[in-house]
């Protein structure tokens, strides 16, 4: 595995003045920057903040936003909020699973897509909804999903 450039991690920690109380905020910024929290990243954070690794792992596994595995270039989040659920979110999720061939929480081997489920995107009028590459889409059918898969790089 090639060496990760950790300079951004240092920049983020500097922004929070190496304050260990800001651990969650630091990890959020790091996650957004690198799309996942690798072991070298976490050990760098812990060293700079002078905290044990267990503490960082505790946080990174407790909160949903963090990922200890590499994420795909095109994140897909299917909303399973209540409004979407009663409007057929499970069937939408089935179609997505069928289209990209992975289960929620997984990343395709080519690191193209990561599929996740979320509990309410707050756009209930669109339900059942999903977000792909930051774009909100409503009740996509099998053909539309196939188009997304085909057009992603």
């Amino acid at each position: 595995m090639e060496q990760q450039d950790l300079s951004k991690v240092d920049e983020i920690i500097d922004k929070y003045e190496s304050n260990s109380e800001s651990l969650i905020q630091i990890l959020l910024d790091v996650q957004n920057e690198y799309r996942w929290l690798s072991r070298p990243i976490l050990s760098q954070v812990c060293e700079r903040l002078d905290i044990p690794m267990t503490h960082a792992y505790h946080i990174a596994t407790f909160y949903k936003h963090f990922s200890l595995l590499p994420q795909g270039r095109h994140p897909i989040s299917v909303c399973l909020g209540t409004a979407c659920h009663v409007r057929g979110a499970t069937r939408l999720l089935d179609r997505v699973v069928q289209a990209i061939g992975i289960e929620p929480g997984q990343t395709t081997p080519d690191e193209k897509f990561t599929l996740n489920t979320v509990n309410c995107l707050g756009c209930c009028a669109l339900g059942p909804a999903l977000v792909v590459d930051g774009e909100y889409r409503s009740n996509l059918n099998a053909k539309e999903l196939a188009d997304i898969v085909a057009s992603a790089d």
Binding site: S20, E21, S22, L23, I24, Q25, L27, L28, H58, I59, F62, Y63, K64, H65, F66, L80, G81, T82, A83, H85, V86, R87, G88, R91, D94, R95, Q98, V118, N119, C120, L121, G122, C123, C124, A125, L126, G127, A129, Y136, S138, N141, A142
Partner: protein, 634 residues
Amino acid sequence: MPKLKSLLDLEELRKGIIASKDPSKQCITICSGTGCHAYASEKVADTFASELEQQGLSEKIDLRRTGCHGFCERGPIVVIFPDEICYLSVKPDDVSEIVSETLVGKKIIERLLYVGDDGKPITHENDIPFYKHQIRLVFGDNRLINPQSIEDYIGLGGYEALGKVLFEMTPEDVIEVVKKANLRGRGGGGFPAGIKWETTRNAPGDAKYVIVNADEGDPGAYMDRSLLEGNPHSVLEGLMIGAYAIGANQGYIYVRQEYPLAVENVGVAIEQMREYGLLGEKILGTGFDFDVIVHRGAGAFVSGESSALMTAIEGRVGEPRPKYIRTAVSGIHGRPSNLNNVETWSNVPLIIKHGAKWFGGIGTEGSKGTKIFSLVGKVNNTGLVEVPMGMPLRDIIYNIGGGIRGDKKFKAVQTGGPSGGVIPESLLNLPVDFDELSKAGSMMGSGGMIVMDEDTCVVDVARYFLDFLADESCGKCIPCREGIQQMLVVLNRICEGTGREEDLDTLADLGDMMRDCALCALGQSAPNPVLSTIQYFKEEYEEHIQNHRCPAGVCKELINYYIDPEKCQACMICMRNCPVGAIDGGKNIVHVVIQEKCTKCGTCLEVCPPRFGAVSKLSGVEIPEAAAGGIKVR
């Protein structure tokens, strides 16, 4: 930007802002809340900007991106001032026509207006039934201001209440007013805010904290997000008034990372307040110092609980603790900390401005003021609605929500999210307030209102909430961690058709245990969705258990898709669309679902042309055997 050093400075600034605005000048406002954003309102706004530029109208006509208007069903929403012409579902392609016809030509484009039940178009936002029956005290300014402009807020009387508090009232006076108004917490429990404030004020300790809970995690509820996105200063002003009353100099806003626009708009608001000296030391020249830190939540439903949220702010895992000592006495770093939700804080400036008596004139005996609900699910007008407490459910769902989608039959409405319950049709006249909802076995919660029709299975909905909670339980206490799991095991088997006679009693026993023994409200209220559905829809559970039938046709293991040979025209559409090749037949040969292969995705039912209507769901009955060798279409 000069710092405001006195009340006079603030009033001069306000006068200047108002004087600089010509009320007769045309202004295009575009809703940029998350709902409209999902409908590409940004593209509409950008197209307006370039169209105005091209036609040389940028100086003459203002363009404003506002917060959420609430009518998400028909976004993107465009309102043109001063005539308040409201266009719905506006597409970028409509923009040039709006500019040339309406803004320049002063003509109304009928096709973009709301059409009433009588077929007549409605021009003004406030005349549309969705808005007409609401009282938008807290949410109303969203449509008038750019949330990233503190000047817009000040121009509408913003920070006037703060001035009044700092210069005319003692902290005790403020608490007295909030107590008298009987403002109850909008986040779930409905605890009186004034009493909480007083406890925090009286608790020993020099350093105290005030916190905005914007960790809105209930699936299907998004009013706090829209308020924080659309009018962040109203929340911050409320927070500051609370800080003054309580004696706190430090505030926190705990907002979900999943709400990027809310995080951004709150950040901008705080920056602007600092520039004007509305945050920092000696605010408006008084002895009051105050500052705010934004803490983004990293995704944990349980962290919305007050003690858990405060632990998360300290940079630790957000798990609840036993509350023998309230957070009002010992919260962040063991110091007195007062937490209220977004909507609660937003009510505070209104109460200070208009008085406790005014506030007490709205609502019911025990629940004063208004409440914002997110009206979603199988209802025609999905969106955010603000109504006085006590409005009957029926009025909210039918007069504002426009009834049930697709002329289906109303079945139930779910309130209070994973901690709440369902309310059946027989209770539709229930006045909606804190106490009435609790009496009916549900709760107000943060204000999610999910409408369900006859095609919704309540057992499946109960399982859905438990599944959610099983995922979100922090696991610290056994009653919650194991109780939810075991209830889920029982519900799963009911939904799969292997339910047992004694299952309903088992669920009730587990529910009682969790209510009594769980550590925090998440576990204590987790049985509510199950117990309330059993209370009102016992027959539906019994159908699942005894007859292995899901009357709504939702529970996958209990349904089969079936093609009626009398109706099938052998058009091949379902055969081609079936993702697993589970349909047999051919040209002119009636199609048959191969049950062993079928994954029950429902595609065949969706694609079968309605004029044939040959595909249906069967539940609890034998599937008729298909004729061997296939039959020809008649």
